[in-house]
Symmetry: C2
Subunit: 449 residues, 2 copies
């Protein structure tokens, strides 16, 4: 029984299968007639798309959630988001740690522990730690937003209901809303926006970073040092964020921002740059932006968040390794050094693979959608925007997703699934068993580029 089930169920495959099962499970829940508003019938297709979008914490939607689902449907949606954003991740961590091979472990969980030394109780403590931090942040966000929303909503129940969903949606970078129009009602409320930006950051920065931060501030560990991963992921995350703010402002200052006070220009730039990095909530209609900004946002969505976070995209570390490799080549060096450490050649190779697969996949998806939709019905910009949003599990939209044909929606669903799983994990899940090759071919150089 060499090809038995145990052999087939590698940790990475378990992760992918968990996501797919969760997507189908929640599609059934969201299809239940008593989960939708009175008088509204949800087709199974729409329920499936909503479920895939929720479990992949993307936020692209073919229905208006607040007009379609009642409180029960919203709870199903919230559970799907929570499971997709945090549950599968911690479940995955657990599976990796218990069943995992060394390679999976060393790639995923770099948190200060060496997996060879950690005990089973240590594992459970670690997972509980991740879950605790995540739910703790969500609760704090819900309390702050809910209390503040008392100014906006008629009843305390409605205020805390909205606040809780909003905090969940922001921290998990899900991008769903039950206001019916995302955060556009709060376009002038900078406090609400700041809280959402901070929640988006906390979710997208990566669980290892959160865990290391907790360790850093713990009195038990006076000699704690941040890992290379945390340093690279965090600095890349914020460099790209500020870069996005500045370029967006440069593009729009004479266009959409024309005549606005400086603080409004600043907050539109900040919120858009933050939300494009997998957040998916919006304080404005994307169609108001110029072509250059829409392209910039697409690029930010493609870059996305950190690995081992609730966000998607090629991920911050991939981008960092790209630029570090270019930099060290330009400086005439063979190895790639940063923060007093060297990047492992295998991590460079992985970044190359992620970039290649992402480029080929995204271009292929855009051509497929353009082909399915035929001539002229949708603008290319909108197609690129939705595809980048799906692959980066961002959820920002120019509004065409509900009107796309079913084959195009299938393409988006596949992009969301792969985007959520992450390209490296996805590739590991479909790759064949590692082969020990006992023969070597001679190396021969070729001309590149």
């Amino acid at each position: 029984m060499r090809l038995g089930l145990n052999k087939f169920l590698t940790p990475f495959r378990i992760i992918v299968i968990s996501y797919v099962v969760a997507m189908f499970f929640f599609s059934l829940l969201l299809y239940l007639p008593f989960a939708s508003q009175a008088g509204v019938t949800v087709s199974y297709w729409d329920a499936l798309f909503t479920s895939v979008s929720a479990v992949s914490v993307t936020g692209l939607s073919v229905v208006n959630v607040s007009e379609t689902y009642n409180w029960l449907g919203v709870i199903f949606l919230a559970l799907g988001i929570q499971l997709g954003g945090i549950g599968v991740m911690t479940l995955g961590t657990f599976v990796w740690m218990v069943l995992g091979r060394k390679i999976a472990l060393s790639q995923r969980m770099l948190i200060m522990v060496d997996q060879n030394q950690i005990s089973f109780s240590g594992l459970v403590r670690l997972m509980r730690g991740i879950l605790g931090v995540a739910i703790g942040i969500e609760l704090i966000g819900a309390m702050i937003l809910g209390t503040y929303y008392l100014n906006y909503f008629d009843t305390a129940f409605e205020a805390y209901y909205q606040g809780a969903f909003s905090a969940l949606s922001a921290f998990t970078n899900a991008g769903f809303d039950i206001t019916g129009q995302s955060l556009i009602p709060f376009a002038d409320d900078y406090f609400v926006q700041l809280v959402h930006i901070l929640l988006i950051f906390s979710g997208a920065i990566g669980f290892p970073v959160l865990m290391e931060l907790r360790e850093y501030f713990s009195p038990k560990n006076p000699n704690f040092r941040f890992s290379l991963f945390t340093k690279i992921a965090t600095s890349t995350y914020f460099i790209v964020f500020f870069f996005g703010v500045i370029i967006l402002w440069l593009i729009e200052r004479t266009e959409f921002y024309d005549g606005m006070p400086w603080h409004q220009q600043l907050f539109f730039s900040m919120f858009n740059s933050a939300t494009a990095r997998s957040g998916g909530l919006a304080t404005m209609d994307m169609n108001e932006l110029t072509l250059a900004s829409l392209l910039l946002l697409s690029a930010l969505m493609i870059i996305g968040a950190s690995p081992s976070s609730v966000g998607g995209g090629i991920r911050t570390t991939t981008l960092a390794v790209m630029f570090l490799t270019i930099r060290s080549f330009a400086m005439g060096r063979g190895d790639v050094k940063v923060f007093g450490r060297e990047i492992h050649p295998e991590d460079q190779q992985k970044a190359f693979i992620v970039l290649s697969v992402f480029a080929v996949g995204l271009v292929g998806a855009i051509i497929l959608i353009a082909g399915f939709e035929g001539t002229g019905q949708f603008q290319l910009m909108a197609i690129i925007f939705e595809a980048s949003s799906a692959f980066g599990t961002c959820g920002l939209s120019m509004g065409i997703t509900p009107d796309l044909s079913k084959p195009s929606q299938v393409v988006l669903m596949i992009l969301m699934l792969i985007g959520r799983v992450g390209l490296v994990a996805f590739m590991f899940s479909i790759r064949a068993e590692e082969k020990k090759t006992h023969y070597k071919y001679p190396t021969e150089r070729i001309i590149i580029g």
Copy 2:
């Protein structure tokens, strides 16, 4: 004098500087009043753009060549194309071989000779070989096309004049035309198209491949084996070509091809797939194609031709290494094997750099052009098409290049220059002196993707 001129003039810098000098030199020639048609005044800007396009053998144009230049202007243009397509390349080879460091040599000239053993006379023979093969192919093409064009043109002079320019433009993948409307007058003449396709192939397949083919058919060398470069470059070139033909046909069979006889569908597909790989000549108006096809052609232009050829793009070997790396990862292997050889890790790293720089550069250029052009004036598809065409030195156009603002045209010129030089050579030209680092940092793994 550690930082003297000799130190500054590395082989790669000499190549870049040669191209830039040639571009300015030919811009002056093309600006000469007696090189243009009676009554036509060429601005220096247009002459510069035409020269950059000619020397980079791109073919994007802000003027209609046949309406703008007289026979002298056309000769200047042809010389610029010849110099850019073949001259700088062989000059470059020479410089590399005489001054070059090992690294430059081993990267560029893999032709069956080992640079450590080759003598100066051997170098000259090699260069003469390249020039001879190139000019030989051009002459044969000119004879065939010129003779055949006797059916089309009134005088023998006009027929051979057109045939010679056409053969030059096709072999060097320059994409310029003096018919005034590219090859559209020959849209029904499959013989003309086949000859052009073969000429485009010969130029784009790479000089090392041509030289090895000559060696292969030479009786002097019965034990000759093709290099890994030739095998990878050639197979990738044709796989992508056939892929392009099939996908283009699948997209357009119910659209632009609707109602056409099969042979016309076949030839439109074949010619477009061939010409997009740096050729730049066209048998139809690109605006007739659907969005999906225009995206496909952009992707083909970005892939481009082989290194050490007259074509541009990320190049066939970069694409091949991308896919081979993905394949070996998916198969659970650490090394990358193909054709009984192993790809050198450094070549993998180079492919990664080319892909990264190309992606960042192209996206940046598209956002810049979109920004310069403001809202709505040009369709995104046209901007992507022209930028891909410039970076891939292809020259196919949706017709917007002459109407772009000057800053956007500057972006296109820079793309053409870098596209022609090739990203690896360009990076080598700007990179600092190779540093011998005597210290090592500890390696630390990070999470990718």
